[in-house]
């Protein structure tokens, strides 16, 4: 069973469209509503998704692990992480999954820097991402082109090994660190990203570094 995990917080404008599009490419869609104050849950349910709602806002990392836990409990063979704001293109799913199966890969990591055109804001592209790559090299010890891309496909083997403990955005680096730790086979795959929101800024980046640092002592 191929399950899409969609972490969502106040995404009522996009979630219905995202869920309906995903159903053409996956067997089931799980929307983890991170305590939205709008109609995200209702719209996702109407679109046919399984909705898991956090009573308190816990962050994107926490939402993804909630989706993972659910996927493990229903015996999913593959899961895909897919943003709820509709910035990813569902047409990237099928070829990525095929490549994964053909080459016996455990994790596919989406990348905005491998050929497909994405409208990445200048500051992010030239300042934040290069810094992110250095931070990632320090904490995850993996060198990849797109450190914080939310598009990932994970097979059952990796799903059982990758346990996300970071509630916030540091989960992206944590996932890479766990890929390295468990010696999982991974590749980056070109995906298209249509920016609808700016997303992580400089403050968010500082918080990620702080979270990664303190997690070493927990």
């Amino acid at each position: 069973m191929f399950i899409a995990i969609v972490p969502a917080y106040n995404e009522e404008k996009h979630i219905g469209f995202v869920v309906r599009n995903l159903f053409c490419h996956v067997d089931n869609v799980v929307v983890v509503d991170d305590s939205s104050t709008d109609n995200t849950s209702k719209i996702a349910k109407e679109a046919g998704a399984v909705v898991i709602r956090h009573e308190i806002n816990r962050g994107q990392g926490a939402s993804l692990e909630t989706g993972h836990q659910y996927a493990r409990s229903v015996g999913a063979t593959h899961v895909i992480h897919f943003d709820g704001d509709g910035q990813f293109d569902v047409m990237d799913i099928k070829p990525a999954l095929e490549k994964m199966k053909n080459e016996n890969i455990d994790v596919i990591l989406g990348s905005r820097f491998l050929g497909k055109e994405s409208n990445i804001p200048f500051f992010k592209k030239k300042i934040l991402f290069p810094i992110g790559r250095i931070i990632n090299k320090i904490f995850a010890k993996i060198k990849i082109t797109d450190v914080h891309n939310g598009f990932r496909i994970i097979n059952q083997n990796a799903l059982n090994k990758i346990i996300i403990t970071h509630d916030g955005m540091a989960h992206a680096t944590e996932i890479l660190a766990q890929i390295k730790h468990h010696n999982l086979k991974y590749i980056e795959y070109p995906v298209q990203v249509e920016y609808r929101k700016y997303g992580q800024g400089l403050g968010g980046g500082v918080k990620i570094v702080k979270d990664l640092f303190f997690s070493k002592f927990i």
């Binding site: 983890v32 399984v50 898991i52 956090h54 308190i56 962050g59 926490a62 659910y70 303190f214 927990i218």
Partner: protein
């Protein structure tokens, strides 16, 4: 002879130590925490009652003045406590997430 402020400070440290013992009896402080805070407040009482004692310790560490020694120790202690507090908060946050997650999944599976 002790100055008025020294008397007040020393009395305050006695109050603080009694408060630490009270918290230990209530089970709010562990043995390590109790020992740390009692030693801390005794050290404060000694430093206030005999200010020259800090100068003697400062000399051992080759720090110029006693007040500088107290200042360095205070800064280091505060940073350490903030660090410990931060770790504690993070740990509690993870526990909260676990409770929220388990409840959310259980509700979803029950409503299926």
């Amino acid at each position: 002879m002790l100055l008025v402020f020294q008397i007040i400070f020393v009395l305050f440290t006695f109050f603080a130590i009694s408060s630490v013992i009270k918290k230990k009896k209530q089970g709010l402080l562990g043995p390590k925490g109790t020992i740390f805070w009692i030693i801390f407040w005794i050290a404060v009482a000694i430093a206030v009652a005999w200010p020259e004692s800090t100068a003697k310790i400062a000399k051992i560490f080759e720090i110029g003045r006693g007040v500088d020694f107290v200042f360095y120790i205070a800064i280091a202690t505060l940073f350490y406590l903030i660090f410990k507090l931060h770790i504690k908060v993070e740990t509690i946050a993870r526990d909260v997430t676990k409770v929220v997650r388990d409840k959310a999944i259980k509700e979803t599976l029950n409503n299926k």
